[in-house]
């Protein structure tokens, strides 16, 4: 009996890794305990307004905000699927060019979309609505939906809606980047009326953003393990030897934590990692084009629809015209990554195994230059990294009945 106990203790001791002081510093940075409340968004005065979040929640799942009456934000950002779909690229009215991104981590990011072409959550929310492959809608139609069905909630937050009765002044379907008829209708509007509609459209985005800011990152088994590492007295999760080896590779030889750092396992930056181009999609310059779009966006932090009195530092000091931005895409959060295949900005890889294999081989980029070097990971090492990544699965929300 004594010998059995001694053997058991020895096995436990063998399974408990020893982390160096530097490792512990890195691990503490990855822990969800290091996650602060979302940064304020001075460009959105209703960012943390509960009534705006209520309105935004309703708008988020309203299929009336689409050309065919069947597409809402929630069609691709499915609440039951970590706010993504399981598709290589999103399906709205048509098929888009990019993989649907999860929303909760985006609340922390200074740049939205895979290429960072919007500099706030609310500016991001406006893009898909007028994208012909997504909602296929127009901003005058959005204003009419708000007036018809949300006017009380809207006006309490933002003041009176414009009177849209005159269809000569406010065409049914008008958008600056829409189909030719919608574009012509937009160009036929007076500057003042365009501004009235843009303001309503911006407020629509701000309400949606307020809802998105209420979405929470849920802890993973990895966090429960770290709680034990950092001395939490409560029972905490253990990781298997493979998962621990994978974690060691993640913060060491695999160099994953160089970019996938911080409590969201993302530095919110952009990198060209040599991801293959999607064979059926047009040439895609990634961040190189995205930053130009963000700077030119009338709905950016420095624009007239922004509530920010000053600041906008990310936009003010944005890097433009740098060759390193060609085919650079956002470094995504890895929280819940095992639950949301396929991967990369156009769903190029269907499994985590393929992703880790790509980083191990580090092939030449199809355009621009890849930042990564071959890691030459063994099959065991690749399997261990995948095992670790699966410990990042978000745990289910606690049931209301305990």
């Amino acid at each position: 009996m004594g010998a059995t106990l001694a053997t058991a203790l020895a096995l436990v001791a063998a399974a408990e890794p020893t982390w160096s002081a530097a490792d512990l510093k890195t691990l503490r940075g990855l822990w969800i305990g290091a996650l602060k409340p979302p940064p304020p968004d001075p460009s959105n005065k209703v960012a943390d307004n509960a009534k705006a979040a209520d309105l935004g929640r309703a708008l988020f799942s309203d299929t009336g905000l689409s050309a065919n009456g069947q597409v809402s934000c929630a069609s691709c950002h499915q609440p039951g699927h970590a706010f993504t779909d399981a598709l290589p690229t999103g399906h709205g009215v048509g098929t888009g060019n990019r993989r649907t991104m999860p929303i909760a981590p985006a609340v922390y990011s200074p740049w939205q979309f895979w290429d960072g072409r919007a500099d706030s959550l609310w500016a991001q929310a406006l893009g898909p609505v007028e994208n012909p492959a997504e909602h296929g809608f127009s901003r005058t139609e959005v204003a009419r939906v708000l007036a018809a069905r949300y006017s009380d909630a809207y006006e309490r937050l933002f003041g009176p809606l414009p009177d849209l009765a005159d269809r000569n002044r406010f065409p049914l379907r008008a958008a600056p980047g829409g189909d030719p008829a919608a574009k012509a209708a937009w160009e036929g509007m007076s500057d003042a009326d365009q501004i009235l509609i843009n303001r309503v459209y911006a407020n629509f985005g701000k309400a949606v953003a307020a809802y998105e800011r209420t979405l929470k990152i849920r802890p993973s088994r990895f966090d429960a393990y770290l709680a034990g590492v950092f001395g939490a007295p409560d029972p905490h999760a253990r990781l298997s030897p493979d998962e621990l080896a994978g974690l060691r590779l993640f913060i060491g030889k695999g160099q994953c934590a160089n970019c996938h750092n911080g409590p969201l396992l993302s530095n919110h930056g952009f990198a060209n990692t040599g991801v293959p181009a999607h064979p059926d999609l047009p040439r895609d310059l990634g961040r190189a084009a995205g930053v130009r779009a963000a700077v030119a966006d009338p709905f950016n932090c420095k624009g007239v629809y922004s509530d920010a009195p000053a600041g906008c530092e990310e936009l003010e000091f944005a890097v433009i015209d740098n060759p390193g931005q060609v085919r650079a895409y956002k470094v995504p959060s890895l929280r819940g990554v095992g639950q949301r295949a396929p991967y990369m900005h156009a769903g190029q890889f269907s499994s985590l195994e393929q992703v880790v294999d790509h980083y191990s081989r580090a092939p030449r980029a199809p355009d621009g230059a890849s930042e990564i070097k071959p890691l030459r990971l063994s099959a065991d090492e690749r399997r261990q990294i995948v095992a670790f990544l699966r410990t990042l699965d978000e745990q289910p929300a606690p049931s209301p009945h305990g």
């Binding site: 160089n258 003010e316 000091f317 944005a318 890097v319 930042e371």
Partner: protein, 151 residues
């Protein structure tokens, strides 16, 4: 802006890798500079040709990750006298990862002699970063300096 970027990319290559030929290799994605063992991480040093002495300091300690924050520069000449009114261009990046700074910081004169404020600094990951300052004093003296930081 494109010209600014070009000049600074060259300065990075000269400083860190030692030549334009290597720059071409780096842009082709072939070689990354490995961190030297004897990396000088002092943030208070004479410039390359000794024209100035340059001291830089983050205004947020410890240096934050993934957050825009300001730095200060104190610039003196060989005699230790403050140099005001200089034009300071800033560039940098991570030699081991083929990328530049995630933001485009700018320096402006502060109120006190020899002092400057760098706005828009941000570091997006841990590791070895270089920060290059190209300095042009109002009397025409110029020099450069590369600072190293390990975050």
């Amino acid at each position: 802006m494109p010209q600014f970027a070009r000049i600074n990319r060259r300065s990075l290559a000269y400083r860190v890798l030692g030549g334009v030929a290597l720059l071409a290799v780096v842009l082709a994605g072939g070689v990354a500079a490995a961190k030297p063992r004897d990396l000088n991480i002092s943030l208070d040093r004479p410039s390359d040709r000794g024209v100035f002495r340059v001291r830089i300091q983050s205004q947020v300690a410890p240096i934050p990750l993934s957050r825009v924050h300001p730095w200060t520069v104190h610039l003196t000449d060989q005699a230790g006298l403050p140099v005001s009114g200089a034009v300071i261009a800033i560039d940098g990046g991570m030699p081991e990862h083929h990328h530049g700074l995630p933001t485009a910081p700018r320096a402006a004169s502060a109120a006190t002699p020899g002092d400057y404020l760098i706005s828009g600094m941000k570091f997006s990951m841990t590791g070895w970063w270089v920060l290059n300052l190209s300095i042009k004093a109002p009397d025409g003296r110029t020099d450069r300096i590369t600072f190293n930081m390990v975050l």
